[in-house]
């Protein structure tokens, strides 16, 4: 965990001067609010936070935050975040992605990030669509979602990110809803504070290409039971829920990646010589 800031920071102190360009009504505005409130609640110094993202609407997040950030390559947010956290274990590293970026193009990285259990918080803003590229089905799109781009629906079963994360070894697994800023803020604060790899799927409606998702606010509900420390039990629960249980599902106690090993490695190299200038 990063050093505590010397004076009381407010959520607004974590916002950059860059104005978001998400569509009016986009759930990602609420995610931005929740992230700033969570880091303010934890009083993390902005200079000790790094937000790493891939590509997509969700991945614009670092630009809107007054912290270090890296808007990376499509699907490769987790490798970037992993490298940064290993090199700079003193930083609080938050990784932001969408369902296309994180579960399709970057799907394989998710498995190994969970497995390695590096102390990163991974937020995936899931709107079940590729919004930035105008509405193609993503890995979490329902098989019967019928559009001109996928006539009759894809017919392909959706990806179950929470189950995959549990099976792969994530140490903290939760689902949140962007419209529940209070709940999402709490979940994010817990995720950031929990050691190891924390995975938070945030249901974040795309009002432009999936106006039906405006109804999500009436569908979400707290889980019927508290979180579990048993990954198998958590997997069974999430496989049988309706997809709208929100809250912390699983808190593990697996040791996070041993970063002391990295400190013994000599990183010195001829960096300039590696590049053609």
């Amino acid at each position: 965990m990063s050093a505590v800031a010397p004076c009381k920071l407010k959520a607004s102190d974590y916002k950059s001067g860059t104005k978001p360009v998400w569509c009016p009504g986009c759930g990602d505005y609420h995610v931005l609010a929740s992230v700033t409130k969570a880091v303010a609640a934890l009083q993390l110094a902005p200079e000790n936070i790094a937000v790493i993202s891939g590509i997509g609407c969700s991945s614009r997040l670092p630009a809107y935050l007054n912290s270090y950030g890296f808007h990376g390559v499509h699907g490769r947010a987790l490798p970037l975040a992993t490298g940064l956290k290993v090199a700079r274990p003193d930083l609080t590293v938050i990784c932001a992605s969408g369902d296309g970026d994180g579960f399709s193009i970057g799907g394989n990285h998710l498995l190994h990030a969970c497995r390695r259990n590096i102390d990163i918080t991974y937020i995936v803003m899931d709107n079940e669509i590729y919004g930035m590229t105008k509405g193609q089905p993503s890995p979490t799109t329902a098989p019967d979602w019928d559009t001109d781009l996928a006539p009759g629906g894809t017919g392909v079963s959706p990806f179950h990110p929470l189950v995959i994360a549990l099976a792969s070894g994530a140490n903290f697994v939760a689902r949140a809803f962007s419209g529940d800023v209070k709940g999402t803020t709490r979940t994010l604060a817990e995720a950031i504070s929990h050691p190891g790899f924390s995975f938070v799927q945030i249901l974040s409606p795309c009002v432009t290409f999936r106006p039906d998702q405006r109804d999500w606010k009436t569908k979400v509900h707290p889980p019927p039971v508290e979180f579990t420390t048993d990954a198998a039990q958590a997997a069974r629960r999430v496989m049988t829920d309706d997809g709208f249980n929100i809250g912390v599902l699983y808190k593990g106690s697996r040791d996070k990646y041993n970063q002391s090993v990295e400190r013994e490695v000599n990183f010195e190299c001829d960096f300039d010589g590696e590049f053609l200038v």
Binding site: C23, P24, C26, Y29, G135, G179, K182, R186, H221
Partner: protein, 177 residues
């Protein structure tokens, strides 16, 4: 998902209620400011100006509450410790009701809903609390919100309801239908 304001009322102390009232207004100021920027970005100037005016109105209300609370030591609460009757503070615009082509009538309808829910929140607190000071503050804040409701209704009457094709966009963002 949410607790009713009635179940919350008995737990408020006067400083807690002042803090909640202040946060309701400050969040509304930010929410309207953000929406104004979003609408301006989308070229919806009329609604952008309207949200800017709403933001100013809420800022005035926030200043009034801040003045009342100046000699009170307000508690410090984590964001998840606030006790709202819904997911969000009652005057925050519900993003699910926002559309880039929305008309002033629709924007004011959302704003009116917010004022009504804020009024209901304070009415419920005033009705159920056993603390005279809390009741006095809650009644005062409910009266302020009632005045805002009346203003919103007057304002709303000046704008016609939207046509059936209000969301028609000759160059839509969607490549799908």
């Amino acid at each position: 998902m949410s607790k009713s304001a009635e179940t919350l009322a008995q737990h408020f102390t006067a400083p807690e209620l002042l803090l909640h009232a202040l946060i309701i207004e400050l969040e509304a100021v930010q929410s309207y400011k953000d929406l104004a920027e979003q609408m301006r970005e989308c070229g919806n100037k009329d609604v952008a100006e309207l949200f800017e005016k709403m933001s100013v109105l809420e800022a005035e209300h926030a200043a009034k509450i801040r003045e009342e609370a100046k000699d009170v030591e307000l508690p410090e609460l984590a964001p998840w410790e606030y006790r709202w009757s819904g997911l969000e503070p009652p005057e925050n615009i519900d993003l699910a009701g926002v559309h880039y082509l929305m008309t002033p009538h629709q924007a004011l309808t959302l704003a009116l809903e917010n004022e009504v829910s804020a009024m209901a929140f304070f009415d419920a607190v005033a009705h159920d609390t056993a603390d005279d000071k809390v009741r006095s503050f809650a009644q005062e804040f409910a009266a302020d919100e009632r005045q805002h409701v009346a203003w919103m209704k007057d304002w709303l009457a000046k704008y016609p309801p939207p046509d059936d094709d209000w969301d028609y966009d000759p160059d839509p963002p969607a490549a799908i239908d």
